[in-house]
Symmetry: D3
């Protein structure tokens, strides 16, 4: 009963156009399942791709840092698909094993101290106001 | 009725020792409220500080990247105290306005696509297994 | 080692009574695994069913809207079982593909803007106080 | 130290253009603080507004349903600003007190049963696969 | 514009009956704001109170343990109101400062290791299947 | 492509030392996958184990209560691995079926009322300030 991924051969022209832009932009032979599923609602496919392309492009932050931030959010939200696909993207962007290890360590400590700050109901310091 | 921050003057020796190490390590005149609250349980204060000192030290990732990852987790968890204190730490580590803007944009997109991946129940791609 | 679903034939009378009420109320041949698992604690089974029956009944909001709200919460919490079972319930209540697509799009944007509002620490507008 | 909202009079032309479009689209005298804060990163302001305008427009779901879905996500994420601003938007779109009461009740039950499904590690039913 | 708490003197008879039962059950002079707000939807007030009364009653777990579990959930969800009211309830049930300190420490570590388990995509051990 | 668990035979001496301490402390024949994965970053393995050993030791709270708090956090975060491993640990520490049932019921109610408190934007009571 769940929806199935829409392959390029079966896609409407507006969907194919997005797939083709993803493939050209990322230099990959096929788009991954995330795009083949959001393709069930073409406006969401198009808007999400255009937004992601803009946001993840090199800018004041380099692509590796952006992918690691993406992993940090995905781990905190507990999204397995997102963790795997963005860990893969971070590795393609050059993330080393040592960097991955430190990324995980920071994510872990941030989640721990976030809860301690809430649990102790810490007031904002004057210097931070 | 809630607990109050424990100031240096009122702290037990084991707590003062941690405060002093934080001040020396970070070169700050006083510790912030997070430490003054966790000080109500000295083993938690000591362990959290030692862990954080180790995890946030320069390594395979530089301190600015680590602070931005911390902000990404804190925003996703919705911890106001943590957002403010680690945004401040990131700015002290050199984060520019443009970098902050891109950090927020990536956090926003990651949270959106995390939910789309879940909502569409996207299967892991063969290439990611 | 994990618990197994309790089937009707193996259930205590108080559990069977709840199963029978669920089947009669929803006009289904069997209850789903959620009920067969919470049946391990009969007071939780009974209370949860009675609460859900009351809350999800037609009222000021129609059942389709209620099921879509249920999906929005389940996606945001990342509960796969809940997403699938309530997407199915929403479709049985008449949700079209176009409605599902817009539901996902709204959930995605809400999650993105929730994090932007937190990240920028937006103050409540005077008009909203 | 935190950022301040950027008022129309102090805004760059590209920011003013977005503010003006928000005011015209929603028929309001001023934009709220969410926009005045994201304006610190004009590409985020523009992209977020264009996305939100597209997603929240009447379509297969009417605006009231969309705003209630937005509230459901915001409550589940615990974003106070978002809860208040989208509850207000839902009321402007016609939400009655009775509808608000049922919305809250469904959000509450969904969060409870999401956790029960996780806690009991409920397996997906054959009929849902 | 937000809703205001409904005081006993202004409450409908069905609401007063719930308030009176809360006061008698807990031996308190007044109900707290949580009940005065959910009273805007009397079925939610009644159902939530009856459920909570049943769930939090002494049983296989004693009331102090139940309140500490409530705090653990509330901290993890980041609900300030809930943290404060259930920390107060736990203290009334006998929680010592040392127990509160350990409660916070466990909550912190659980949140850290939850994220590490996700981040490393740890597979379920054979012995746990 | 994902990382694989590191078995004792393949582990570096510093990793083996941690494995051996876990096995001795818990009196188990092998460490579980959580440790075999975090072993990819030995400082995280060592630090996490030392912290967990300290935090979960008997103290003002007994080990069963600590494991139930761990389960409450894990269910709320939706971490399947953590739910299973800490439910197993709680059962080893003596948790009965009735206690597990009440634990789940409290977790469920806490999550429901957390959202109602947020959704109704309940103000902190004077008595709690």
């Amino acid at each position: 009963m769940p929806l199935k991924p829409i392959e390029h051969a079966d896609a409407a022209p507006e969907v194919r156009a997005v797939y083709d832009d993803i493939k050209a932009t990322r230099n990959v032979p096929d788009v991954n399942n995330f795009w083949k599923m959001t393709a069930h609602h073409p406006p969401t496919l198009r808007r999400t791709w255009e937004s992601l392309k803009e946001v993840m492009a090199p800018g004041a932050l380099d692509p590796l840092v952006k992918e690691m931030i993406f992993v940090a959010v995905s781990v905190t939200n507990g999204c397995d698909y997102c963790i795997r696909s963005h860990e893969a993207a971070a590795r393609r962007a050059g993330m080393t094993d040592a960097q991955f290890g430190e990324l995980m360590a920071v994510i872990g400590m941030a989640n721990e101290t976030n809860r301690l700050a809430k649990g102790y109901q810490v007031e904002i310091d004057e210097a931070l106001k």
